[in-house]
Symmetry: C2
């Protein structure tokens, strides 16, 4: 599962770099499908990943307001900061349980740690797929999505 | 990893059902981003998954021509047929090696079984993310993508 996290993070960073060619207006433009805008998508996957990881840890959710992270630099900085916490957690503390149920404040159902980790991974890949369509609509080449051919730490 | 395959298959079937509301023209219409059309996307993820699984098995690649699978029924039938083979393989024969390298005819590089399985999973989720944007462009509600809340066999 850690490889999927590394894949998502590597690709997220590549999308952040890709975004540097866009104007603020293009980054924030509301588009059809997906979640709002290109920038909001990057914020959203960062936020959702962190919320679920805190949920697994039994920690209180931290709510981030997009209005406070409404530039590429701020989203990148948030992504980096939260990732460091997640790396520490994944490295040291995680027991991937397929039995014990985790409860989170934003969902009335309970899920196993194993299912939540699957959910986090699939959630980001799905949204990045949406970015790739928006990229082509902008007549730009999207970030390469392949898993194979990448090197991870 | 098996859970991700089941997630992809369940969602693929839901997309096939979702497609039933579309005309043949809409199914085959060439769209911006992704691979060609909605129907071609479903064919492509089916084809790619099978090719890589055969690659892992050391079996010769079977090349499918889209022109022979150019209706929803034919793609669904192909998907079902190949899936049965893949299920049998995943259930009984797979050793997920992170060392031994697999060689396939369509790629000059070699990859581990573990990386190839990651690749297959991410490949389908990515393309399904693209379908979700096209769905909204058609003013239709896409198939729910969440991993959590699903039941697998």
């Amino acid at each position: 599962m850690k490889k999927f996290f590394e894949y998502n993070w590597q690709k997220r960073d590549e999308w952040v770099n890709w975004c540097k060619q866009l104007t603020t207006e293009e980054l924030n433009k509301k588009r059809v499908g997906g979640v709002e805008s290109i920038l909001y998508t990057l914020f959203h996957i960062t936020d959702v990943e962190y919320s679920w990881v805190r949920g697994i840890q039994g920690k209180e959710d931290v709510v981030f307001q997009f209005s406070e992270y409404d530039t590429l630099e701020k989203v990148k900085s948030l992504s980096d900061r939260l990732r460091n916490e997640i790396i520490d957690f994944l490295k040291t503390n995680i027991t991937i349980s397929d039995a014990e149920l985790v409860s989170v404040p934003w969902d009335e159902n309970k899920y196993t740690t194993d299912d939540i980790l699957h959910h986090i991974v699939a959630h980001e890949i799905h949204h990045i797929g949406q970015l790739s369509v928006w990229s082509r609509e902008l007549k730009l080449v999207p970030v390469q999505a392949n898993f194979i051919g990448r090197k991870f730490n």
